[in-house]
């Protein structure tokens, strides 16, 4: 069987190249199908690799706790809150925590003014521990200090974007900006952090936590976020369950009540994002597999035509000793090869298309095709070739030698 298989392969290639244009048009369905899958996968693949890197820079072992109000309660006017009391409990009783800091976002105006310039920014009240938790350090000046918090000093640390938006000098230290009608002295400028999912992490204004509390006024309504980082030996799972126990008892939750807070890790965020990307890829993959199916039907159609055209050849081969399986293999190999070649062309042009898309969008990560996608695309197109090659090949193999020889 071996040498006749090689011969089948050779003559299949000869047949495909004898009708170059027709072969190309036949496989166009497969080419377009595979090219679009690969283009999508290469773009999302590049994006996901890039986002993985960004999340890693967030600090893999940091946690964020926020209050969580179910939609139903929100409609009833009930709001869950995390309070400074919760923070205190965590500081006292939490184990495996390296540093912990409250984060209090301005809930009314996020305006910041410098001279005639006004900018909008994320304004957060936090403590000196924030720099370790968020791995965000100053390039010029100093970070918020513990004494700033104790004395409710009116000092501010700003991100690079804020400096630019307000036309502040390259070294903005000791300049004064206006926040909620109060004057704040700039003490530090943060290192640029870059974007994450298209959002700048440098458009940020940090003031001492207690200063923020006093600006917000009514303390009873304060809902803080808590960020913390773990000690290197602590297990994420243990810390999460410990925090859950502390907060549940602090909030007097019964065993049948749901948590009124959410503990998020950077890893979770990344998983969520990966899930979204995965779903997107699957949906597009599904749509595209339909086009591969259509491509397969195209191949079957042309192979049926080809069998009819070559009826006489089939008769000759049978007369000189070809068995049914020789003829079957001949046409099956031809259909599969046709489809595989289409898959290969689709793979290359899809990758090219992906690179083109990635390059034409500024700041977009470069396209990359994972090996599994390339193998899957080729495997699937080969499978389509076999699937849709069987019918024409069986038709050829069943031909009666006398009728086939007589065929004009």
């Amino acid at each position: 069987m071996f040498f006749s298989l090689i011969e089948s392969l050779r003559s299949a290639l000869a047949a495909i190249f004898a009708n170059r244009l027709r072969s190309f048009l036949t496989t166009l369905g497969i080419i377009i199908g595979v090219a679009s899958v690969i283009a999508v996968v290469s773009v999302t693949g590049g994006m996901s690799a890039f986002i993985g890197d960004s999340f890693a820079s967030l600090g893999a072992d940091s946690l964020t706790i926020r209050s969580y109000t179910p939609f139903e309660d929100l409609m009833k006017g009930i709001r869950s809150r995390l309070t400074p009391n919760d923070l205190e409990l965590i500081e006292k009783r939490g184990e495996g925590i390296a540093s912990v800091t409250p984060v209090l976002e301005a809930n009314r105006s996020s305006q910041i003014k410098y001279g005639p310039q006004t900018a909008y920014s994320l304004i957060m009240g936090t403590t000196y521990a924030y720099q370790d938790v968020a791995q965000s350090y100053t390039q010029i000046g100093r970070f918020l200090a513990q004494s700033d918090n104790l004395t409710r000093r009116r000092v501010v640390v700003i991100g690079e974007d804020v400096r630019e938006n307000l036309n502040l000098p390259d070294n903005p230290i000791n300049e004064y900006v206006e926040l909620s009608g109060e004057w704040f002295k700039i003490v530090g400028l943060l290192e640029p952090m870059g974007d994450i999912m298209g959002q700048s992490r440098d458009n940020i204004v940090l003031i001492p936590y207690s200063t923020m509390v006093s600006i917000l006024g009514n303390q009873s309504r304060i809902d803080i976020g808590i960020q913390l980082s773990l000690t290197p030996t602590a297990s994420l799972e243990n810390v999460v369950s410990q925090l859950t126990t502390i907060l549940r008892s602090a909030h007097d939750l019964g065993s049948n009540e749901d948590d009124d807070f959410r503990i998020q890790t950077a890893e979770q965020l990344m998983e969520q994002f990966d899930q979204i990307l995965g779903t997107l890829t699957m949906v597009i993959g599904g749509i595209v597999s339909i086009s591969l199916l259509v491509g397969g039907i195209g191949i079957m159609n042309i192979m049926l035509v080809s069998v009819t055209e070559r009826t006489r050849e089939i008769g000759i081969c049978k007369a000189i000793g070809a068995k049914s399986n020789h003829i079957l293999m001949q046409f099956l190999i031809e259909a599969t090869l046709l489809s595989l070649l289409g898959g290969l062309i689709g793979l290359l042009s899809g990758y090219g298309l992906g690179m083109l898309i990635a390059n034409s969008i500024p700041d977009f990560p470069p396209a990359s095709v994972p090996l599994w996608a390339a193998l899957l695309a080729l495997g699937f197109s080969g499978f389509v070739g076999i699937l849709f090659g069987i019918l024409p090949a069986a038709k050829a193999a069943r031909l009666d030698p006398i009728d086939a020889l007589r065929y004009e």
Partner: protein, 239 residues
């Protein structure tokens, strides 16, 4: 070279077709024996059953009834795949319209039957070159069929039939598409092959072709009308 081994032995072979509601007896009780190294022609007008005869002898078709022993093996009841193998091993076909593979050059055409024997490329090539040299086409092995003249094409077909070293060479109107000069050349080639010990069977309606053959079997209405071999025997018996 003469010996008495029967290569072909047909016993009471019939072949019936249904055409519409009518039963056509294409072959009707054929009994014939062909010995090794015979040079035989089946002649007859169209509709005499000689084409059906060729299909049966060439194992392209199965008889409706009767026994066909080819080299001592009954092939009358074999199925298509087994018949393919028999054709590959025992029979060398030469057709009126040459029936070469159009996309393959002369060498590949001659190598093709050996592919089905699963012979490796180098041996295939060697055997095919020998066969092409035998028919005088050594210089044209890389020509495609449409680059060859009719006579040359038929030589390629003969080389393809010879390359498998079959028990019988079976030619169906081998010169039907050739001019008279080429016809003579091809028939001379058949004469030589016969002298070399091949068993040659020609199906034809042309008298001149039949004249090359030692034994001429004339068919009419699906029956053997005359056979000069049995006449000779009868003559001998008569004397």
């Amino acid at each position: 070279m003469e010996n008495n081994t029967a290569v072909i032995n047909l016993k009471n072979i019939t072949k019936h077709y249904e055409m519409g509601s009518q039963l056509v007896r294409a072959l009707d009780g054929i009994n014939i024996e062909v010995k090794r190294n015979e040079y035989l022609a089946f002649v007859g007008s169209s509709g005499s059953g000689k084409s059906t005869m060729l299909n049966i002898l060439g194992c392209l078709d199965r008889p409706t009834s009767g026994q066909y022993h080819l080299n001592g093996k009954n092939v009358a009841e074999l199925y298509q795949n087994d018949l393919s193998e028999i054709r590959n091993l025992e029979i060398g076909f030469i057709f009126q319209s040459f029936n070469l593979l159009p996309r393959a050059d002369a060498l590949n055409n001659v190598m093709q039957p050996l592919v089905y024997r699963n012979i490796g490329f180098h041996n295939r090539r060697k055997m095919a070159m020998e066969a092409l040299t035998r028919v005088g086409l050594k210089e044209r092995v890389d020509h495609l069929p449409n680059q060859l003249s009719g006579g040359q094409r038929q030589r390629v077909a003969i080389a393809r039939a010879l390359v498998t070293q079959p028990s019988i060479l079976l030619a169906d109107e081998p010169t039907g598409n050739l001019d008279s000069k080429t016809t003579l050349e091809i028939m001379e080639l058949f004469d030589e092959l016969h002298k070399e010990g091949h068993t040659v069977i020609v199906v034809t309606h042309e008298e001149e072709i039949a004249q090359h053959c030692r034994r001429v079997v004339e068919m009419r209405d699906g029956k053997i009308f005359s056979d000069n071999d049995s006449e000779e025997k009868a003559n001998l018996a008569g004397v």
